[in-house]
């Protein structure tokens, strides 16, 4: 059986990912996602 990645690596990566998420949120990305998601994306549904 191959050696597994230790759980502490997962926890460190989770902390980095959470940091990215918070940074992006503070940078206004969540609003950009909202603007895209709250209106009909004609391209996404094949009408654009």
């Amino acid at each position: 059986m191959k050696k597994e990645v230790p759980a502490r690596v997962t926890v460190i990566l989770l902390a980095i990912a959470a940091g990215c998420c918070v940074f992006g949120w503070m940078n206004g990305e969540a609003h950009a996602v909202f603007v895209k998601a709250a209106s009909i994306c004609l391209e996404c549904i094949g009408l654009g």
Partner: protein, 291 residues
């Protein structure tokens, strides 16, 4: 037992994340535009579905990359990394509505196709190409005359958008129905192809095309949810490999990037050597006895 429970969770999650009933009323308000749309759902779910309460993560990545926001998608990729690190492809197996639809189609009683191993191995890399080229590459690099990027995956390939967004919207809105053209016909063709393939092959979209599955598979070996093989108990009978719908042999590669954590293997194992457990909690009778 696991299979039935999983179907209930999949269906429940699909209903919960597409629960904006007012969106389905003809002539009513079109899309939900409340605060939940700031957040992505973990599975493939078109945000242009009339009932969608959250944002599609793959659509969101392209929206950030496509030039209107002009930045690295820290928020969405951070969110997807968190989801992948917490659960890996467990999300594909338990929280994806399109995965459930494919599984239900596969239950239609017809002769089934097993893609030859060599072709299967090569085709599985296709989803990484889709992720790199259509989800990241083209939206990042290509610009129209107006300086805007193109959400290439959503626009040219995604059958989820056609099924959950395009077709319902075309039915509900007269004004949109008048705009249907070649692109819509192309996407309906792809959707039909995907539906037909799903009748004969188990989850073909997930195996070969889905960029979200490709992204989560990168986290499979480091995610908190892992599969454990008790090597002291396993008799290497091959029952788990035969039962696996994703063509993995769980007793040899329990944390394969292709495993969607459906749990079918844990059900069929005659000696119960396979189990889910959190990272760092490995169970091995042989090691326990020798230790």
């Amino acid at each position: 037992m696991v299979s039935r429970f999983r179907k209930i969770i999949q269906a429940g999650w699909g209903i919960l994340t597409n629960g904006y009933a007012a969106g389905f009323l003809p002539g009513g308000p079109t899309l939900y535009s409340g605060p939940l749309k700031h957040f992505c759902v973990p599975g493939m779910n078109c945000y242009s579905c009339p009932g969608a309460l959250g944002a599609c993560p793959i659509g969101a990545v392209q929206a950030i990359l496509d030039g209107r926001h002009r930045g690295f998608p820290f928020y969405v990729l951070g969110y997807l990394a968190m989801a992948g690190l917490l659960a890996g492809r467990f999300i594909c197996g338990w929280l994806c509505l399109f995965g459930l639809i494919q599984e239900l189609l596969y239950r239609i009683p017809t002769p089934k196709i097993r893609v030859p191993d060599r072709a299967d191995r090569i085709l599985r890399y296709l989803k990484y190409v889709v992720l790199a080229v259509l989800v990241i590459g083209i939206p990042l690099v290509y610009r129209t005359e107006l300086g805007l990027g193109v959400p290439a995956f959503c626009k040219y390939l995604c059958p989820v958008g056609t099924l959950e967004g395009g077709i319902p919207m075309a039915i509900l809105q007269d004004s949109l129905r008048a705009t249907l053209g070649a692109l819509f016909r192309w996407k309906v063709f792809l959707l039909i192809l995907c539906v037909l393939a799903s009748v004969f092959i188990h989850r073909p979209f997930c195996k070969y095309i889905c960029p979200l599955g490709a992204l989560y598979s990168l986290f499979q070996k480091v995610s908190l949810v892992r599969m454990n093989v008790d090597t002291g108990v396993c008799i290497d009978c091959g029952a788990c490999g035969e039962a696996c719908p994703m063509n993995v042999v769980p007793c040899r590669e329990p944390n394969s990037p292709e495993c969607i954590r459906c749990g079918e293997c844990t059900e069929v194992c005659p000696v119960k050597a396979l189990s889910f457990r959190p990272a760092g909690k490995r169970k091995n009778c042989k090691e326990e006895m020798s230790g």
